[in-house]
């Protein structure tokens, strides 16, 4: 039915009404799907008008550089959230991997110089943490919220033990070079993040594993019935998230050079918030890589803008909280019978 020639509701037959209702729902669903993107565009325009520094090339490059760590983490967390799980251990794993790398490369604390192995082994270690998390979650049947919290506690404790309270500064020349390398004016670490993001997007959208993740998040029983090995997929997702956290640890270390637990501090909750703003559902099955990118961009722009216009530091967190609630309210899909948990 054409919206322009809308008939009087009363004189419509039920069939006509039904068609128009379905069309309306489809339209509003579409709006919901695109709402985060619309929000992103509006934000960018309004911010640019409000403060000319915002849209300067330099600032955009900044935002891109700062985006590297959150983007990598959020990419890994996308899989976890699509399963309807949560992973609080990424902060701890980031800290552990960053600390371990800093101690194995040329550094200020000891005489190690393991070269490329100094990066690979910690990445494997972090990925292993993801495996342990997933394995315990699946086998002991402990809620992911608690098991990942416990793992995070353990892992960050181990990290401090590794450097024994005195974090090491990385001296390896290639790390220093890497932090100052740009392609097309975009920092190398952002390229790492973008490549990881693209690979994960392909995995999610073009592999059996990706379909299985959606299937489990939407209807675990049905996924089992379709012959999907749910336990295996869940463990694999935590392994992927563990690897993402490890990679984020590496990138954070390249950025900051000092290998300590706090590399990972306050990284996870912002990422999850960003994912939800982008349109990923916490209950699983809904979301995707596009939503992840949009969410991260919205979040980073907001953060950057609040700093640029010099909002008082006392009020910044509170203002951010209010804005996020409003953004989520605007973009999240809610029907009459939707259950919010």
């Amino acid at each position: 039915m054409n919206l322009l020639s809308k008939k009087d509701v009363k004189s419509m037959t039920i069939a006509e009404q039904f068609v128009s209702k379905v069309e309306q729902e489809a339209l509003s669903n579409k709006i919901r799907v695109y709402a985060p993107m619309i929000l992103l565009v509006i934000m960018t325009i309004v911010f640019s008008i409000y403060d000319s520094h915002f849209f300067s090339l330099k600032n955009l490059v900044n935002v891109l550089g700062q985006m590297a760590v959150p983007l990598i983490l959020a990419t890994g967390l996308t899989f976890v959230l699509l399963l309807g799980r949560i992973d609080l251990s990424v902060e701890g794993v980031m800290g552990l991997v960053g600390s371990a790398i800093s101690l194995l490369l040329l550094n200020s604390r000891n005489s190690n110089d393991w070269g490329v192995w100094g990066v690979i082994l910690p990445l494997v270690l972090g990925t292993l943490c993801g495996f342990i998390t997933g394995f315990l979650h699946v086998k002991l049947k402990i809620a992911s919220f608690i098991i990942t919290y416990a793992i995070s506690t353990i892992v960050s404790g181990v990290a401090v033990l590794l450097y024994n309270s005195q974090p090491a500064t990385v001296k390896a020349q290639w790390v220093i070079d890497a932090s100052q390398t740009y392609f097309l004016k975009i920092p190398l670490i952002t390229w790492i993040a973008i490549i990881f993001y693209i690979i994960c997007a392909i995995i999610l959208n073009y592999t059996a594993f990706g379909r299985a993740v959606y299937a489990i998040g939407d209807n675990e029983a049905a996924a089992v019935a379709s012959g999907i090995n749910v336990q295996k997929v869940v463990i694999e997702v935590f392994v992927l998230s563990g690897f993402a956290a490890s990679l984020a640890g590496l990138v954070a270390l390249i950025r900051l050079k000092l290998g300590q637990v706090s590399l990972g501090e306050n990284q996870m909750f912002p990422c999850i918030t960003a994912l939800v703003v982008g349109g990923t559902s916490l209950s699983g099955g809904k979301g995707g890589m596009l939503q992840t990118m949009v969410g991260i961009l919205i979040y980073m722009e907001l953060l950057n803008f609040l700093t640029i216009i010099g909002v008082s530091a006392d009020y910044k967190n509170a203002i951010q909280g209010v804005i996020i609630i409003i953004a989520v309210a605007l973009t999240i899909t809610r029907g009459r019978k939707v259950i919010a948990k």
């Binding site: 209702k21 299985a212 299937a215 379709s226 012959g227 999907i228």
Partner: protein, 508 residues
Amino acid sequence: MEKELLFKTNNIGKIYGSNTVLQGINVEFHRGEIVGLIGENGAGKSTLMKIIAGVTDASMGTMEMNGKPFKASSMMDANKYGIGMVFQEQSLISNLSAAQNIYLGREKDFSTFGLVNWAKMNAAARAALDKLGLSNISPAQKISDMPFAMRQMVEITKVLDIVSETANDRALILLDEPTTVLTDDEMKILFEQVRLMKEKGNCIIFISHRLQEVLDLTDRIYVFKDGHLTGEVETKDADEYKLYEMMVGRETNGEYYVSQRQTVPTDDVVLEVENLAMFGSFKDVSFKLHKGEVLGLYGVEGSGKEDVCAVISGDEGKTAGTIRINGKEVSFGSPSDARKHGILSVPRDRRDEGIIGILPISENISVSNYGKNATAGLISNKKQTENANGWIKELGIKCEGPMQRINALSGGNAQKVIFARVLDSECPILILDHPTRGVDIGAKGDIYSLIRDITEKGFSVLLMGDTLDECLGLASRIIVMKDGLVTAEFDCPADNKPDQVEVVQKML
């Protein structure tokens, strides 16, 4: 002509804890036949299906497929042998497309280097759907955008595709109540396909509570009762009456619906609905419900009758019209508002909207009326348990006791608990939305006499029957809906029920 043996079981049994649910089952399935499995809920037929399909393990006994020992550790494993099962409950992923659902778990057939070629998959899905005559389903369409029946067809397509691919027409396909949500047309297509499969040499096992369908479709029927195989008949030798007898060991006849106890409605109007409408679903619906009356609401799926119930029970909002209770106009925004006005419903989807699974029976009964067992706002758990015990006795609920979790009960018993809940709430107007769906025949009879009991006590019932037969049998008046409009109203006095053909004419 003796057909080639495809699958057989030797003394299969299943024990859950101390509870033996299946014992000493020996069945044989041959190529090119359709076998019906019937029995009351909890008789063990679904458990047998699950064992064959690899969903659960057997506690004892062995199985053979194609003459070789068979043991499946998972459904996928069973699929490899050519055994596939269509589940009673929907097992599709709603945010994936039809094609992705059909080939879920089998993506590697369409993958190169681990990457899936979606175009190729859609083309294959197109072909699979066309084979079943389902040209109206687009492979790229998301399941969440499809109506219920269409989803069921996708599910059947999926299973047929899985097994026909691997089994070379030596497949064993298990259909567990596939027709519950299908329209007549869809059912016809399904039956056609099933027969086609059979002719090619596959074996199809068909479970249904609708005996007429079983009689129409199958060649041979196994009857189950209390975990045992109690009978086997050639379909050509059976009729509905005989099957009833084999299943329940008691006769069914005109007294099935206890129509001699049908009440004559009084003149007191408890619920009056005038020009009720819900945009996109129904409009201009008006009727009156009298005290002590069973008012049947009938029509095909999608005729709007479901939404009429939903609006009156507070589950959905109306867009126009008025609802009056005892002559007073009311409006509600939720089922809890409706409850306050004395309306409560037995929902259709028992598993999802009826039982509160992990809570005990007593809590499930009291949830609609905690106040009953409370003094000064404090609930006495002792009273609540006693209350539950009372209902368990009164309704004959088979359970370990009021503290047993409700999800351990069979469908019929769980439904009785839901009835106990609505009766306990003391709401005078009850909406029974398919109250016997998925309930075995024994429990059905109990529920029918229960409905008679409550109307005698002065409750009024708005009934959406599972079958026309049931609706006509129980109701004292029937309203027929078609395409969102009321098309006819029939009086159904106990001694003079209207002709079924007449009713069907109004709804189609």
